[in-house]
């Protein structure tokens, strides 16, 4: 069916246990979504099949399994025996984005903490390095150089120490400058509100409805806002004032400011989180005037995922629900509570939702955009590698802000693990990223063949 839809040529069914394993685990990881809204998971699988980097974004579960079990990712490490640390969970190049602080200064930070949990820190480094490898290959550059840049910068930043103080705001690459400038511009133009809202005939601001982008595949929505289910509208409207209880403070927010004016269901956002329930919520803001309305995103908070060999719920007792975990870890790993003063959580029935503001300053790095700039000679290969160095250093900074499960600061733990072995660390990370990068390319092909052979749900039948 998919070959007829243009996803791929009519590929033969892939053979081998690897393809079987991919098919089984992809269905397993998305089973809740397949039962609830199969079309949403179809969209996710379809998006993962568009591009090898999108495959990476949607396959964190496979990546973690591969690390732990004998297989393509099971390359030994000399850096894995230290204590577990608080992890970003899914650090990759496109999970880095801009945030403005209340003074209007824009900085780059990791921006997705759905998978944040405690675990072996080397897994975060390997994930980021693999993403750098794939990003470079997508741009026609040397993946190994990009992965080494991540590792080098990570080790250097760890050795510098005092990493928790954070990186300088000024970036060292025109590609990073470009991202910062887009964030600054978006802030100035109130891009979030402008992009997703309109004024009705009575002069009241409302969320747009409709599909705004062209579908890359018939069953993959690019960007759409549709009416939310009435029970969700009622539940969110009632629950949203409780957001104030979970805010970090710093900016006075009252329940009145969170009075709901409109709610719509967002489709087509993310890759890994594509099937998750995601709502855009227009609220009153500081005054009744529509110009200062706030646009929020309330997103279903998923499980962090697990590491084979480590019990998944060891630290679950620390949080009431997943949204609380994500928000707490985001504040810790970003090292600042003022990156988004509306970051918090609410519960609607059994659903926990992570809430954040949708401001124009929040834009993410895009591999496609990086490639375009390099190919158009607007940036050099060194500029590209500088982005990867920045990503590596940023991960080291985030890790250093965290701690072990028992409360020991992470910085000294990392320094002790790497000190005197920086070259070996870089070589190991490089080797891993290269090996797993090629595996990812093969897995991407396997996914396309699986979709072609078994359909957009990979053969899952309720």
């Amino acid at each position: 069916m998919l070959c007829a839809l243009g996803l791929s040529g009519c590929l033969p069914p892939p053979d081998g246990s690897r393809a079987q394993w991919l098919r089984s685990t992809l269905v397993e990881d998305n089973l809740n979504g397949l039962r609830r809204e199969p079309e949403a998971v179809e969209g996710k699988f379809g998006r993962m099949a568009l591009d090898p980097y999108d495959w990476l974004r949607g396959s964190l579960g496979q990546f973690r399994r591969d690390l732990a079990q004998r297989g393509p990712g099971a390359l030994p490490t000399a850096f894995g025996d230290g204590p577990e640390l608080l992890l970003v969970g899914d650090p990759h190049v496109e999970n880095i984005g801009t945030f403005a602080d209340p003074s209007g200064r824009v900085a780059l930070e990791f921006n997705d903490f759905d998978a944040a949990t405690y675990g072996p820190w080397i897994t975060d480094v390997r994930r980021l390095a693999t993403s750098a490898w794939l990003a470079a290959e997508a741009c026609g550059l040397d993946g190994g150089g990009a992965a080494s840049s991540v590792a080098d910068a990570y080790a250097t930043q760890v050795m510098v120490g005092d990493a928790a103080r954070g990186l300088p705001l000024a970036a060292a690459s025109p590609l990073l400058d470009d991202a910062l400038a887009r964030g600054q511009r978006g802030l100035a133009e109130s891009a979030g509100l402008a992009d997703f809202t309109v004024f009705d005939s009575a002069g009241a601001r409302r969320l747009k409805r409709g599909e705004f982008g062209a579908r890359p595949l018939p069953f993959v929505v690019d960007e759409a806002l549709v009416d939310a289910a009435p029970e969700v509208v009622a539940g969110l409207t009632a629950a949203l004032p409780t957001l104030v209880d979970s805010l970090a403070g710093g900016v006075a927010v009252t329940p009145e400011m969170l009075r709901v004016k409109d709610i719509a269901r967002r489709w087509g956002s993310g890759v890994s989180s594509y099937p998750l329930l995601r709502y855009y919520v227009l609220v009153e803001g500081p005054t009744p005037h529509p110009d200062d309305d706030w646009l929020l995103e309330a997103k279903e908070a998923p499980d962090a995922g697990r590491f084979e060999g480590l019990s998944a719920d060891r630290f679950a007792w620390r949080f009431e629900h997943n949204a609380a975990r994500i928000v707490a870890h985001q504040r810790t790993l970003q090292g600042r509570a003022d990156a988004d003063f509306l970051l918090g959580f609410v519960r609607v029935g059994s659903l926990s939702l992570r809430v954040r503001s949708l401001r124009g300053d929040q834009t993410g790095l895009s591999v496609q955009r990086l490639c375009r700039k390099v190919m158009a000679a607007e940036a050099t290969v060194d500029d590209f590698l500088e982005v990867m160095r920045f990503a590596g250093a940023l991960l080291a900074v985030a890790h250093a802000r965290g701690e072990t499960p028992s409360g020991r600061p992470a910085g000294p733990v990392l320094a002790a693990a790497i000190f005197g072995r920086e070259a070996a660390f870089r070589d190991e990370v490089h080797r891993f990223a290269q090996a797993y990068g090629y595996t990812s390319l093969d897995d991407f092909d396997r996914l396309r063949a699986l979709l072609s052979a078994h359909g957009p749900r990979l053969g899952y039948a309720p």
Binding site: S17, A19, Q20, W21, R23, S24, T25, V27, E28, L31, N32, R65, L67, A68, Q69, R70, G71, A74, L75, P76, T77, A78, G80, D81, G82, P83, E84, Y118, G119, P120, I122, T123, A301, D303, F307, E308, G309, L310, S311, A312, D313, R314, A316, W317, F319, E320, H321, N322, A323, S350, L351, S352, T404, P405, S406, G407, R408, L458, G459, Y460
Partner: protein
């Protein structure tokens, strides 16, 4: 073909045996409902490379009931367990750190005794795993760990399907065959393939020990099936030896897996245990060793666990009583080989020591014989 036969046999027995058994035993016993509950909970203090962690744990929380019709010809069991949501092996957990209740077993049975020395039982529903049921009969260390097959995640305690058991010579020989989904009671069925299980148990020895009956049982089993939407192979070869006597128990269980943990790998697991009461009411001793090789093709994918503990039953043992309270003090040491996850050559991450203080409480409405 075999699938259809097993289901047909199970259902035929289930629906035809009632009148036969009822005719034979109608005057013998009235219908009977037994309710029971079991709670294993306590405090665990764990030391690992990631630091120390003390947690209250709920290891088992079950309530259930078993009803037998007059004459024992047929009946049913329904059992619920409380589990922490979104935990390991829970594909469909509810967000949050809550306890949820789910059905662990729910099955109907019918019995047929065509001859004094031969007895059949057919089951259908969410039926007990034949192997776990066989080796669990003499196992009394549930507080420390489930039986080896469950603990290694090679088997599930129950699954949706049907089974037929035959026993002969006063239950000295038991043979069971089942046909189930294969995913276990925790997961939903994801393929149309079914899992066939064959288990045979023989009382190798029956003798008098300390003036009371004792037995040594040998068990063998075979499982063939698949899991997941891609029908990953899931085969098992099983062997075990158990010893049960008054206040004593011991056993060894070995399982070899063709396909495990969602991969096409070969793995195996060994569990050895012994437990006994040294001073009635005040001192019982127990020890257990578990070894799981997660991938026989890897250099060192072995996880090992040593457990030792003592227990007291301050209100007396379970014999002739409807309730039992056992207080445990135990220690466990776990180690992981370099290839045993979570990342290769990071075995220390999987190493830990654990001290346990546990309460193991059970009660049922009918006094135990």
């Amino acid at each position: 073909m075999m699938t259809g036969r097993i289901v047909t046999i199970a259902l035929t027995l289930l629906f035809t045996c009632r009148p036969i058994a009822a005719r034979a035993d109608a005057q013998a016993r009235p219908s009977e409902l037994t309710l029971d509950a079991e709670l294993i909970a306590g405090l665990a203090s764990t030391q690992s490379t990631s630091g120390d962690l003390s947690t209250f744990e709920s290891r088992r929380l079950e309530v259930g009931g078993r009803w037998q019709a007059s004459g024992e010809g047929w009946g049913a069991e329904l059992r619920f367990e409380g589990v922490r949501s979104s935990g390991p092996e829970s594909l469909n957990g509810i967000d949050g750190n809550s306890m949820i209740v789910r059905v662990k077993r729910g099955w109907a049975f019918g019995r047929l005794a065509p001859h004094a020395a031969l007895r059949f039982e057919a089951r259908a529903g969410l039926v007990p795993d034949l192997w776990v049921e066989a080796v669990e009969a003499d196992y009394d260390l549930r507080a420390l760990a489930p039986t080896t097959g469950e603990d290694a995640r090679f088997l599930s305690a129950a699954d949706a399907g049907a089974s037929v058991l035959a026993s002969a010579f006063s239950n000295r020989v038991r043979l069971g065959v089942s046909l189930t989904n294969g995913e276990g009671y925790r997961q939903t069925e994801l393929n149309s393939g079914k899992t066939t299980t064959l288990v045979a148990s023989v009382d190798a020895l029956r003798f008098s020990f300390a003036g009371l009956g004792a037995r040594v049982r040998a068990h063998v089993g075979w499982v063939e099936g698949s899991t997941g939407v891609a029908r990953m192979p899931s085969g098992r070869l099983l062997a075990g030896l158990t010893f049960g006597a008054h206040r004593l128990g011991a056993g060894a269980e070995y399982l070899r897996a063709d396909g495990a943990f969602g991969r096409a790998v070969h793995a195996d697991a060994l569990g050895v245990y012994a437990h006994g009461v040294a001073v009635p009411r005040w001192l019982g001793l127990a020890a257990r060793y578990d070894r799981v090789n997660q991938d026989l093709g890897a250099q060192d994918a072995v996880r090992e666990r040593w457990s030792a503990g003592c227990f007291a039953e301050p209100f007396g043992g379970a014999e002739g009583r409807a309730e039992r309270l056992r207080v445990w003090l135990a220690a466990q040491v776990e180690s992981a080989g370099d290839d045993a996850g979570p990342v290769p050559s990071a075995g220390l991450l999987g190493d830990l020591t654990r001290a346990l203080v546990l309460l193991d409480f059970s009660i049922q409405t009918q006094e135990k014989p």
